[in-house]
Symmetry: C2
Subunit: 261 residues, 2 copies
């Protein structure tokens, strides 16, 4: 889940799509790559009791992925993080292979999981690049607002750079509209602008030639903001609310898109 703009729904989507996919029977690993540690907080993982988290995994050659995996739900593991992770960017600045560390660390367990979801921090720094080097597909949570649209161009530039360099398989998979207000004309205008842009891109050979708006959009629903204060996903907290139904719908559309490829 990647968008350099903050507060758009990255953490909320990582947790709820992750749990939704695990409930559907897939083995899922969530990675908290944000020094705010909001994913770990959302799942009520007691990070102060842990010896190693994402920070040690990235900066300590001897730290293996086995040491940082924490079980969260059935078929759902998590690699938590703390504010220590903020130091990784400067500590790894001179590391020759700094953007591919996560990819190397994950290699021993890649057959243990069907799906890895990474919650990226706001910004396009080293932590985000590490995620881009590991995955096949980027999902961009965003709001259908004018100011939110401005950053998408810059994100595409970075995706293009990474996919023509260290990770040729990298694609921009889908745009996930979050906190969506279906009644608003403004949002509808932004949505049609986005759809037109990606329609035009279909003929190109860019990493976003296959990008689509994921359905359904995630409507604004206060239950999604309440769930983290109880350490619960939306499926634990209120499985019948709009938020749970919307994330369930996206789980199903992701699976049908992935299974038909």
């Amino acid at each position: 889940m990647l968008n350099q703009k903050g507060g758009v729904g990255k953490t909320t989507s990582t947790v709820n799509l992750g749990h939704g996919l695990a409930r559907a029977g897939y083995r899922v690993c969530l990675v908290d790559l944000d020094p705010q540690g909001h994913l770990s907080l959302h799942l009520a993982i007691e990070t102060d009791q842990l010896e190693a988290t994402a920070y040690q995994l990235l900066v300590d050659d001897d730290c293996s992925i086995e040491q940082v995996i924490v079980p969260a739900r059935e078929r759902l593991d998590c690699i938590p993080s703390t504010v220590d992770l903020a130091a990784a960017e400067s500590e790894l600045a001179d590391h020759p292979d700094r953007n591919s560390i996560l990819r190397h660390k994950f290699a021993p367990v890649s057959d243990r999981y069907d799906i890895i979801l990474i919650d990226c921090p706001p910004g396009l720094g080293l932590l985000t690049l590490n995620a881009m080097c590991l995955v096949d597909e980027i999902i961009v949570p965003m709001q259908a607002h004018f100011l939110a649209m401005q950053g998408v161009g810059k994100l595409m530039e970075t995706v293009w750079r990474v996919s023509s360099g260290v990770n040729p398989d990298l694609k921009l998979g889908g745009i996930l509209l979050c906190m969506h207000e279906t009644q608003s004309i403004h949002s509808r205008n932004v949505v049609s602008e986005l759809e037109a842009f990606f329609e035009d891109a279909r003929q190109s050979d860019s990493p976003w030639s296959g990008t689509r708006l994921l359905h359904p959009p995630i409507r604004r629903n206060i239950k999604l903001a309440e769930a983290p204060s109880f350490g619960q996903t939306i499926f634990d907290y209120d499985p019948d609310c709009r938020g749970a139904k919307d994330y369930q719908g996206v789980v199903e559309s992701l699976l049908s898109g992935w299974c038909s490829n």
Copy 2:
């Protein structure tokens, strides 16, 4: 306007409070310290036609503040920025006085303005520290959500550090609730937690002993998200909507707080 968490209403509040204060007769200067350039975009300032913006002001010793001030509305000037500003942090890393550059640059015009409002980028890096060294008071836009509350502690640590160092006058003035949903129980719980925290702090000698929740909260109102796509403030776009009334209310409560001190 400062909050390291992104997407909380910093830019929207800087533009609309700035225009509200100028409409009330005060001479106001807005500073766009975010490399996203959203404040400049919100005011439809053609930054690609400008020779110098906030970036040159900070990194170029010969660039004076006169060269970067752009008139925006009556009694309202702006110092715009572009994505170039993102390079300032690394270029100034070795500058001995790197956090006080903005303060020195502003000195020649400090009697020209009654109020300076700075739109800070997400994060607590060099650009945000430059803002903290120039101003007397910080306003923290935030949403009354559980995840949004987590970062406030870290923000306070930074305010304490700056106020016991380079800027002893620095105070945490007010918390401005944005995108506020008055009906939600969750938001009410978060609000009472915030109020209780600042009530306790009144006896302390911390920089937040005088902090209060600004009134009224800014309710969620799609017009506030539409206005930037027309290059307009909420007072230009729809002066009778809830968003304009809420920001007008905060203008009045800020002025009565400032005038009585």
